[in-house]
């Protein structure tokens, strides 16, 4: 399986309007995979755990009823070891508490709503470029590729 093709984007927000708008924004610039949107936390978890690949880009609301974007990442972490690094958290208000939770969870991308398309594009690009660079090196550097395979 080509890793680039499996770099899907998974949007989870209990507000259908936000889900739809964010998905539309991502689709407008993103071509490395599909965009899936969920308003139901549990449904999104189930979808992720059934996937074959263990990488994706996650765009998550902070608070979804009694659940949070952070608990979402915790629940899928075993299947998606890079989930926290590959997540973009969205919040209506970037309070100190939310910022500190991002730092503590090693999440590097926090966006305030309403989402600015360029900011979302840069955040997604920052995550995907890491994998693209990795893939390119695998292709161009047989020694690196052999070493990487040994570590799998």
């Amino acid at each position: 399986m080509n890793m680039a093709e499996s770099m899907d984007v998974i949007v989870v927000d209990d507000d259908p309007g936000v889900c739809e708008a964010v998905s539309e924004i991502v689709r407008s610039f993103y071509a490395w995979g599909e965009v899936y949107a969920f308003t139901d936390f549990d449904e999104a978890i189930s979808f992720c755990l059934k996937r074959q690949t263990g990488v994706a880009i996650f765009i998550l609301d902070v608070f979804m009823g009694e659940k949070t974007g952070f608990t979402f990442l915790d629940e899928i972490e075993e299947k998606f070891p890079m989930a926290h690094e590959d997540a973009i958290i969205m919040t209506g208000y970037a309070s100190d508490e939310v910022v500190n939770m991002c730092i503590a969870s090693e999440i590097g991308h926090l966006l305030e709503k309403p989402i600015r398309p360029y900011a979302l594009q840069l955040a997604v690009r920052a995550i995907v470029s890491k994998y693209i660079k990795f893939a390119k090196r695998l292709l161009r550097d047989p020694g690196f590729a052999e070493n990487a395979l040994l570590h799998l």
Binding site: D15, E24, D40, G65, K113, P114, I115, R116, P117
Partner: protein, 783 residues
């Protein structure tokens, strides 16, 4: 009206010092000896059969004093409108929404009561739920109430003139669909009450309500207590806005538990329970077709509306009528057809909220009128002025505009907003919009069929004559009615405002239907004025006898007696008063006879001086079915111009300026009038831009808290210009009429029209969240 000593001024509110100093006591501040705490068990399912309820374990828990279910409460049906009583205090066969009440517990403390709830074992059989109007109306949909096939709670069909024939004469016909979202009123103080059933069989219920009178009647009916043995007292209230206009399961549970235990019982709704109880704004789905002549003359309106009512009727019968009847004005419209359907769904029941039934309808129509004006090439202001109603006009559905400064309002906002230099001239992303609206000054009829007075007021003078006690059952809920009654009493009696004390919100004091439909200034105001005039007459008649001086030649102004003719020797009265006054600290020092002296002399002759006043409207409205809804002795009206900035990248709408003109008749207290206008604008802004109660697929509310349910705060408020347009309302006390709700009517459509002006996009769904606006902008780009 230009000779008033007290009215039409800017006076501080009578409740301001207590509130500013933190002295104002709300129900939650109250404690009674031996008081128990209650809690309610609510359904975890949106729709389910109840197979069994086992309370035995809860009853055994130490500290629990009573557990009640439908077996204890009985199955007396209640609601708001007797035409549709469809609730029982506790569910007995099935639950109809996630939050439906099943049982209640009283215990020595709240923690024990909550623990006991967890010990009540309810066996359910879950049923399929319907959560949208479409699902509820679908063929074969599960029924909420067996007696209402098709889940139709109520339907209305009205036609005035002949709409189809009228459309044939139109040059332009336009149809639009418009959807708002269910709201919560988001008052600061959740429902709370303390019930105390004494050993003589009298129930006293302190509660946070807008309608002590209706609560008294409902509690009495459901629990089988004579109305005369129920006293409802409303202390300070932290907001109502409509959903506190009916008796709640909380109030009835506390009362029942107090009857069972013989002890006072206190109960609160949590914020989540406030959302679950709801009774706030419905979701309305309007489809409107409007026809006009090419010169802009309005000819006909066809309005079809579906309301997502939730599990019970609450105020819904009135709401479904209001969603049609309040489009009869403020424009001359000869033909109007309305078909309204209120639909049961497995969600909390909706009810009344500021601008009852008319807000979404007004938003839909005023946006459509703007679109029509554009298609005709007319300025939206000119289009509205061409069709505007005037004083003396009667709508096609028989609403009598006995005073109407609508034209003056439109002209005022046009001028003060600098409309001429802004409309069509602002850069992309900035826009300006206008809208109008009107509202009742009190419903013309009580909720239950009765010839009752809508308000009675008692004014009792203190023994020394120095304090005028206004005793009223009316409900001060933050809107300023106590201040209004103090001012009216002072004006009518001729005394100083600061000598009037208002004691209100107690059903033992007088009859008053409460704070809803913007009724208190007009209705309680009438009764207050009459009571004050009664007191004045009694005092002056005693004085006349003592001085042998004609009553008609005496007057009371600013607390002093004046004599129109000649010099009057009142030295004997003064001597008597000073003699009576021995040891007191405030002897009269003026060379004029004071009202206080006269009132004391009157007391010595007649005993306690008590004046009474009463009011009920005359027969109002047409003769068609449903004609009562929308009738009122008077109508207030508003025009607003709103300016917005739309972030074209994110879709975020920022309201920059609002200019609001409201015709409130004769302004009693200008500060209060402006406060009500600003409050309406704030609520309208929140409703337009951010408010929506959201549900998941199981019927659970996703944002039942004030962190996730967004409302407008001070930080969201723009610059506001409030313009009081005064007319003389012949049916109002001193010419006064409403301001509490009419001012919200134009806010949403003015914002919608401004957003269109800024973006070229018409959005037919509320709220205008950034995401909704972004998607609409994107769609427009693509097409």
């Amino acid at each position: 009206m230009n000779e008033c000593a007290v009215l039409n001024k800017r006076l501080p509110r009578v409740d301001a010092p207590d509130k500013a100093r933190g002295r104002a006591a709300y129900v939650d501040d109250m404690r009674l000896p031996a008081m128990l705490y209650g809690a309610i068990l609510q359904s975890p399912f949106a729709h389910a059969k109840i197979l069994n309820i086992d309370t035995s374990a809860a009853k055994k828990l130490p500290g629990v004093k009573a557990v009640v279910t439908a077996q204890d409460a009985g199955l007396v049906k209640y609601g708001v409108s007797p035409a549709r009583y469809d609730e029982t205090l506790y569910c007995h066969q099935k639950v109809r929404y996630l939050g439906d009440e099943i049982a209640a517990v009283a215990a020595v403390d709240l923690e024990t009561a909550l623990e006991a709830l967890g010990l009540i074992n309810v066996e359910y059989e879950e049923l399929p739920a319907v959560l949208t109007v479409e699902d509820a109306l679908a063929e074969g949909a599960p029924l909420l109430h067996e007696e209402f096939p098709g889940n139709l709670c109520a339907e209305v069909h009205q036609e005035f003139g002949n709409v189809e024939e009228a459309f044939k004469e139109c040059d332009l016909i336009r149809t639009d669909r418009f959807v708002n979202k269910r709201q919560d009123a988001a008052f600061l103080e959740p429902h709370v009450c303390i019930a105390d059933y004494d050993s003589s069989g009298y129930l006293t219920l302190h509660t946070s309500t807008q309608v002590p009178h209706y609560v008294m009647r409902t509690v009495a009916m459901v629990l089988g207590i004579p109305v005369g043995k129920v006293r409802v007292v409303k202390p300070y209230v932290g907001g109502g806005f409509g959903p506190k206009c009916e008796a709640t399961p909380l109030e009835m549970s506390a009362s029942l538990l107090s009857m069972k235990t013989g002890r006072p019982v206190k109960m609160n709704y949590s914020r989540e329970q406030v959302f679950l109880h709801s009774r706030a704004r419905h979701q309305f789905i309007h489809e409107m077709t409007t026809g006009v002549k090419k010169d802009g003359t309005l000819v006909a309106l066809k309005n079809t509306c579906h309301l997502d009512g939730g599990a019970y009727t609450s105020f819904g019968i009135a709401t479904v009528y209001y969603a049609g009847s309040l489009l009869g004005g403020p424009y001359r419209l000869p033909n109007m057809k309305y078909d309204g359907y209120r639909v049961y769904t497995n969600k909390p029941a909706c009810g009344a909220q500021r601008g009852h039934g008319g807000v979404a309808a007004r938003a839909a129509w005023e946006q459509q009128l703007d679109a029509i004006a554009e298609e005709l090439g007319m300025d939206p202001v000119d289009f509205r002025l061409k069709n505007i109603m005037r004083t003396g006009d009667v709508t096609c559905n028989a609403l009598d505009m006995s005073s109407l400064g609508m034209k003056e309002c439109v002209e005022a906002v046009k001028e003060r907003s600098d409309w001429v230099h802004k409309k069509g001239k602002l850069p992309r992303g900035k826009g300006i919009g206008i809208a109008c609206g009107f509202f009742v000054s009190g419903a013309g009829y009580p909720i239950y069929r009765s010839d009752t007075y809508h308000s009675t007021v008692v004014i009792k003078l203190s023994e020394d004559g120095g304090t005028i006690n206004v005793l009223t059952g009316s409900a001060e809920i933050g809107q300023g009615s106590d201040t209004t009654m103090a001012m009216i009493a002072a004006e009518a009696l001729g005394v100083r405002y600061e000598d009037v004390r208002v004691i209100s919100g107690d059903t033992d004091l007088s009859v008053d239907l409460g704070a809803y439909s913007s009724r208190q200034t007009l209705m309680t105001g009438h009764a207050t004025k009459e009571a004050a005039e009664d007191v004045r007459k009694q005092v002056l008649e005693v004085l006349s006898r003592r001085l042998d001086y004609p009553v008609d030649a005496m007057d009371i102004k600013k607390g002093l007696i004046s004599f129109k003719e000649g010099t009057v020797d009142f030295s004997e009265i003064r001597r008597q008063y000073i003699k009576e006054h021995r040891g007191w600290t405030d002897p009269p020092a003026d060379d004029k006879l004071s009202f206080k002296e006269a009132a004391r002399i009157a007391y010595l002759e007649m005993g306690t001086i008590v004046g009474t006043g009463k009011y009920k409207p005359p027969k109002l409205g047409g003769a068609y079915k449903g004609a009562a809804v929308g009738t009122s002795p008077a109508y207030g009206c508003s025009a607003q111009v709103v300016e917005v900035t739309v972030d074209l990248e994110t879709g975020k709408v920022t309201v920059d300026n609002m200019t609001d003109a409201h015709d409130c008749g004769f302004a009693i207290n200008k500060n209060s009038v402006e406060g009500q206008m600003e409050g309406s604008l704030s609520m309208g802004l929140g409703e337009a831009l951010m408010e929506e109660v959201k549900f998941d697929r199981k019927g659970r509310i996703l944002n039942a808290n004030l962190a996730e349910y967004k409302i407008a705060t001070a930080l969201d408020m723009p610059n506001i210009k409030t313009i009081i347009v005064e007319s003389h309302e012949p049916n109002g006390p001193y010419g006064a009429k409403e301001v509490g709700e009419g001012a919200i009517m134009p806010t949403i459509p003015a914002i919608l029209n401004a957003v269109y002006d800024a973006t070229g996009v018409r959005i037919n769904e509320l709220p205008l969240t950034p995401e909704r606006v972004y998607l609409a902008l994107k769609k427009k780009e693509e097409t």
